[in-house]
Structures are given as structure tokens and as C-alpha cells.
């Protein structure tokens, strides 16, 4: 096809398009006038039904049943014990509103079993330079050693605690990480510049926490006996 013909076709197409609306007007004008048909009652009822049901959300019964079952299963899964808990050593971590809590997974130890806590004894194979113990506490269920530096602005605490029903970690999901230290599954969390390392050993919760450098804290944990 020559260029001239191509150009003519393009012009003609534009003309055809511009006249399409007018042609439609003329074509459909013919149907505007005329006798008014009498619709049957059946048609009128059907139209009434179509319009009254228009834009309503329709649920297929089977789909509704499937949706309900899916919802029940989803809710069941969401609230099931296993779904809400992550295993951590001998414990489960439960995500609560106030913070993450450690909950004893098995039986709560009796007083007799708490003897290990009472024999509160820490051996820290590594203490960062310049830090000295300035406070310690020993109760039936808990003992700790508190260390500070010379300036008094950096500190860390090593705690052993018999786990009662729940032991709460005062964080709300900041910097939470699971790490392995000497084969122990350690729960690391951070809050307001305080890093906390927690792990369990024979129903005892061991915590090492402070505002010192994280690597120093890990060093303490690695060398603790």
C-alpha cells in the first residue's frame, strides 16, 4: 500500500470514528418513539427482584460454610498452645502485651529442688577490666552479683533465679535474638541501652545484663562456669 493510501486511510479512520457517535445517535433515535409495550407480571416481578438484589453481597452457602470452617481452623491455630509458644530451653516464650515472658514448660520445682539456687555461686572466668563487684544478694529463690566500673556509669549484673510460674523479661520485642553460647540457647534482648542475655539451666534462669558493650556481655557469658 502506498504512503498516500496509508495517509488517506488514517484520515478516513478518524472521520469514521468521529461519525460513529452521530451514527449511533441516529440509529437509536428510532427506538425512542413508539408504542409502550406492556410487560408481563412475570417480567415485572423478575425486574423487581433483580433491582432489589442488586449490589447486595451474596454468599454462596457452600462458600460461606468453607469460610466459617477456615475461620474456625485459623482461630484454633492462633489460640492453640503450640502456636502461641516458642520453645526456649526447658521453657516456652509467650508473647504477652507487657513484654515477653518466660513460662515454665514443665512442673514448677518444689522448694527442695531450689537448693541449687541457694548454693548461689558464680564463677566469672572473665570480668571486663575496671569493673568490681559492689553489691550482691542471696535469697532462697534468687541471687545476683552487681558490677560497676570506676566511673560508675557502666554496670552489669549476673543473676540466678529459680523460675517460678513466670519470669518476665522487661522488653517489648526490641533487638530480640536467639544465639548459641557454649551450646546453650541464649535469648538476647535490648531495651533502653541495656542488653540482656538469658538462658536456662536445670530450672534456673541465668541472666547477664547491663549497659556495657554487647561483646563484653557475651564474653562474660562464654566464660561463666
Amino acid at each position: 500500500m502506498s504512503d498516500n493510501n496509508k495517509n488517506t486511510d488514517t484520515v478516513l479512520d478518524a472521520v469514521i470514528d468521529s461519525l460513529a457517535g452521530e451514527a449511533a445517535d441516529e440509529l437509536f433515535d428510532a427506538y425512542e418513539q413508539g408504542a409502550e409495550p406492556e410487560f408481563t407480571d412475570e417480567h415485572n416481578k423478575k425486574m423487581e427482584k433483580i433491582i432489589s438484589h442488586a449490589f447486595k453481597v451474596h454468599f454462596n452457602k457452600r462458600m460461606l460454610l468453607v469460610a466459617v470452617i477456615a475461620m474456625v481452623l485459623a482461630l484454633g491455630a492462633a489460640f492453640s498452645v503450640t502456636a502461641r509458644r516458642d520453645k526456649f530451653g526447658d521453657f516456652y516464650i509467650i508473647n504477652g502485651q507487657r513484654g515477653t515472658t518466660f513460662r515454665l514448660s514443665e512442673t514448677i520445682p518444689t522448694e527442695g529442688e531450689s537448693a541449687e539456687v541457694n548454693r548461689c555461686h558464680f564463677f566469672l572466668g572473665y570480668i571486663p577490666e575496671g569493673y568490681e563487684s559492689n553489691d550482691n544478694l542471696e535469697t532462697k529463690y534468687r541471687c545476683y552479683d552487681h558490677y560497676v566500673n570506676e566511673a560508675g556509669d557502666k554496670e552489669f549484673t549476673v543473676t540466678k533465679a529459680l523460675i517460678t510460674d513466670t519470669s518476665e523479661i522487661p522488653t517489648k520485642g526490641e533487638g530480640i535474638e536467639m544465639m548459641d553460647i557454649n551450646g546453650n540457647e541464649v535469648f538476647k534482648s535490648q531495651n533502653n541501652g541495656v542488653t540482656s542475655l538469658k538462658y536456662t539451666y536445670q530450672n534456673i534462669l541465668i541472666s547477664i545484663e547491663g549497659n556495657i558493650d554487647e561483646t563484653e556481655l557475651i564474653n562474660i557469658a562464654e566464660n561463666m562456669k
Partner: protein, 185 residues
């Protein structure tokens, strides 16, 4: 308070009210369009019902219920449905009929077609005499300003078919004009 009252007064009709108004305004028109194709009262009523169902899905495309544009839009849909019912989805005037047109170079002098008033009227007549399958895509595309995709969705055909039919509609008209120009020479 005043704004609230004004908003209350100028409240847009709901989609349901809109479709109700469309039916009330154009029900006889739809019937006549459908009846012209089907020549059967019951089937024409069915076509009206089908048209309303189709409009329910496309109600957002209607702005001014009483406009000619809306009327033409409804007319095209109703006629499409009526033809569908008549031929039970067997396309009439098969697309293949025009395949030869697409490949055929229209040998003519470019200057032989002059767009004067007479030709304008003739083109409109040619458009009106097109097979409905070509006419409806042309009306919706050029007349209603709908996209190829929108037309395909509305008529339940593929976009490729819409494009083919548009092209063939134009070829058919161009060919008629060219034939006429040759005859007049």
C-alpha cells in the same frame, strides 16, 4: 450545619437507586431495541433483564442517566444481548468474511475520496448498515470513548477480537467509499 444539610440535599443516588432510574427511564427503549432483533415478546423481556444485569456490573460507567450517550450505551449492550440470544452465541457474518479485506490493498488514488457533506452522510449510513458485531465495537470505542479492554469486558469477548472488529469495521467502510469513488469515475 449548613454544609451538612447541603450535603444531605445533594446526596448522590445510591447504585441501587441509579439502576432503578435507568430501568425506569429506558425500559421501553431497551424492549424496542431487543424486539427489533428478536421479534418475540418474551425473549425481548429476557433481553431487557439481561441488559439490566449487565448494567449492574457497569453502573459506574453511567453518569447522566437521561443522556443520549447513556441511551446509546444501553442500546449497544441490549442489542448485543439480543443478537446473542438470537444466534445463541454463534457469530453471524463470521469474522473470516472480512479477513480478505484486511489483507487486500485498496488500490485507489488517495485523492479520489473527498470528505464532503454528502460523504459524511454516506459514511454514517455505512456505519449504520454494518453488521452489529462491527458496529457495536465502533460505537463503544469511538462513540462512547471506551477502551478496548473495557469493551472486551462488557461484551464478553477478547481484546484481540475487539481490535480486529474495529479494524474490519473501518476497512469495510473505507472499501465501500473507494468502490463508490471508482463507480463515479
Amino acid at each position: 450545619m449548613f454544609l451538612f444539610l447541603q450535603r444531605l440535599i445533594n446526596k448522590k443516588p445510591t447504585k441501587k437507586q441509579k439502576i432503578e432510574a435507568v430501568y425506569k427511564k429506558w425500559r421501553f427503549f431497551m424492549y424496542r431495541v431487543a424486539y427489533d432483533v428478536l421479534k418475540n415478546h418474551a425473549m425481548a423481556e429476557d433481553a431487557v433483564q439481561e441488559t439490566i444485569l449487565r448494567l449492574i456490573d457497569n453502573i459506574d460507567k453511567i453518569d447522566d442517566i437521561a443522556s443520549r450517550r447513556t441511551r446509546n450505551y444501553i442500546g449497544v449492550i441490549c442489542r448485543h444481548i439480543a443478537y446473542d440470544m438470537k444466534y445463541r452465541k454463534v457469530s453471524i457474518g463470521s469474522d473470516a468474511e472480512y479477513d480478505s479485506l484486511a489483507s487486500e490493498a485498496l488500490s485507489r488514488d488517495a485523492l479520489s475520496v473527498v470528505i464532503d457533506n454528502e460523504n459524511v452522510e454516506r459514511i454514517k449510513e455505512y456505519i449504520k448498515s454494518l453488521n452489529y458485531i462491527y458496529q457495536e465495537v465502533l460505537f463503544l470505542y469511538a462513540g462512547e470513548g471506551m477502551s478496548v479492554g473495557e469493551i472486551a469486558q462488557l461484551l464478553g469477548i477478547s481484546t484481540k477480537t475487539v481490535q480486529k472488529r474495529l479494524e474490519r469495521a473501518r476497512i469495510k467502510i473505507r472499501q465501500k467509499l473507494a468502490e463508490e469513488a471508482t463507480d463515479n469515475e
